[in-house]
């Protein structure tokens, strides 16, 4: 058992009066069953759906708290038959919205509706390959054609469309083709990229879909070696691209005995609990989708403001950043410690069963010990 006295003695940093973004899992249904889906197969989650009125009531509360942005996800948000009513509620309460979707259900009618609100920040569609063969390998037959049609429909109606690519064992050799397809053929300005993580349904299919150490090396190398015209347009906040860019900085700092990075040496990842909060499809308030078991309250019964400012579990999550990495057996003797943030608490929970641990999945020392290399 680790000594987490730092957590007990920590003082809470300053918190904004209300979250900037509220992420809403408005639908627990999905027409796909992707092999690596982070959302399904979580035994802590009740996959039920709130009726329209309850979401609308909650949007009034969000408006009164001056929340400016919501994101709609699931499951698949376009499966909600009342989606336009929900969007109306968001607009009436002076907010903007984004939608995360598999793209397969988007038609002219809904794209036009979204465009006419003038409040849509983005519709994010998941594309995992440059062809049906690759994309459908984890997402199911026919999903590529429909998702691409969805993107083109959004583009036709001038809805801002962004794409998220999730790397896995079956698409890791397709990276250059995916970049060319999305950026040249579909004409997107950019896309973001991550990799499948050991969470939700992916736990069951881990051997089949997760990147192996070798896959991860290929992904990192290929992403760094993309032609410049693509490289500048691909972003990542975690996963192989992020690591390919960030780990060499950690290595250089270690070699030069540089002072600690500003957030280094403690469990500082990540900043989400200071900016945003999420709601499950059954109305339970949670810190984020990666911590769906951590129920902080229920919408329309508990005040969101109260939960945001005073929920002890949420504040403990925020104070996690006071915990030094040298308290963990896992990190003992690691020379990267002053430059390391301990990685995602959601992944730490799913991999170790404890949120107050560094997550081994994004550990540089472990990657190198297993034969990985960074350039």
């Amino acid at each position: 058992m680790n000594n987490l006295s730092a957590l007990e003695n920590a003082t809470l940093p300053k918190i904004m009066r209300s979250p900037r973004i509220v992420r809403l899992e408005i639908s627990s249904n999905c027409n796909l069953r992707c092999l690596y889906c982070y959302y399904f197969e979580n035994s802590a989650v009740d996959y039920s759906n709130l009726p329209t009125e309850q979401w609308l009531q909650f949007f009034v509360e969000l408006g009164s708290m001056a929340v400016t942005d919501v994101s709609l996800s699931g499951g698949e948000p376009f499966l909600r038959p009342d989606l336009t009513d929900l969007i109306d509620g968001i607009v009436q309460n002076k907010m903007r919205f984004g939608i995360n979707s598999n793209g397969t259900l988007i038609n002219d009618h809904i794209a036009e509706y979204i465009a006419e609100t003038h409040r849509c920040n983005y519709v994010q569609v998941s594309i995992d390959g440059s062809s049906s063969e690759v994309h459908d390998s984890c997402r199911g037959e026919g999903s590529f054609v429909k998702a691409v049609r969805g993107i083109k429909t959004l583009q036709r109606h001038d809805v801002p469309v962004v794409v998220r690519v999730t790397l896995h064992h079956h698409n890791v050799h397709d990276i250059a083709n995916i970049a060319a397809f999305l950026l040249d053929e579909l004409g997107l300005s950019g896309f973001s990229i991550n990799s499948a993580g050991y969470i939700g349904a992916c736990r069951k299919n881990a051997d089949e879909v997760l990147l192996t150490r070798q896959d991860r090396q290929i992904a990192m190398d290929d992403l760094l070696n993309l032609p410049q015209k693509y490289a500048d347009r691909i972003t990542a906040s975690a996963g192989p691209l992020y690591e390919a860019k960030h780990w060499p900085k950690m290595e250089a700092a270690r070699m030069n005995h540089d002072p600690a990075f500003p957030k280094g040496g403690h469990l500082t990842a990540c900043g989400c609990p200071f900016n945003e909060i999420s709601v499950r499809s059954d109305g339970m308030i949670i810190p984020c989708s990666m911590l769906a078991h951590m129920v902080l309250g229920r919408i329309n019964s508990d005040s969101l403001q109260e939960v945001w400012l005073n929920n002890p579990e949420l504040n403990r999550l925020r104070m996690r950043r006071a915990v030094p990495l040298n308290e963990f057996e896992f990190c003992r003797g690691c020379n990267y410690m002053p430059y390391c943030t301990g990685n995602c608490p959601g992944m730490a929970f799913t991999l170790t069963g404890d949120i107050n641990q560094p997550s081994p999945e994004a550990c540089l020392r472990k990657f190198l010990a297993e034969g990985g290399s960074i350039t």
């Binding site: 009066r17 001056a66 400016t68 607009v91 920040n121």
Partner: protein
């Protein structure tokens, strides 16, 4: 005949989002524009009600904040101009929005 009175008035769509202490942002959900404002800016914003003229707003700000500078009138009218340019406010003439 009285000179028509031009008074600033909030755009009803604008959201005042107080974040830390009395620091805030103004947010226009239609354009997604935001503007960070300090506590004096927040106080000015709350006085932009379509009734008060700029001089009255400056006067009230002076009463509220003892450390307001000599150039408060210019700063306040520049700030109100900035709000107007960004679409966060409009002007009303004798109580009629323009």
């Amino acid at each position: 005949m009285n000179k028509p009175k031009k008074t600033p008035i909030q755009n009803p769509l604008t959201v005042l989002r107080v974040e830390f202490d009395d620091w805030a942002i103004l947010f226009d959900p239609d354009s997604a524009k935001t503007l960070g404002i300090n506590p004096t800016g927040v106080a000015v914003w709350k006085l932009v009600d379509g009734q008060r003229g700029i001089e009255e707003i400056v006067e009230e700000i002076r009463e509220k904040f003892s450390d307001v500078s000599i150039s408060a009138e210019k700063e306040t009218s520049d700030f109100i101009d900035e709000l107007y340019r960004n679409g966060f406010i409009g002007y009303s003439l004798n109580g009629v929005a323009q």
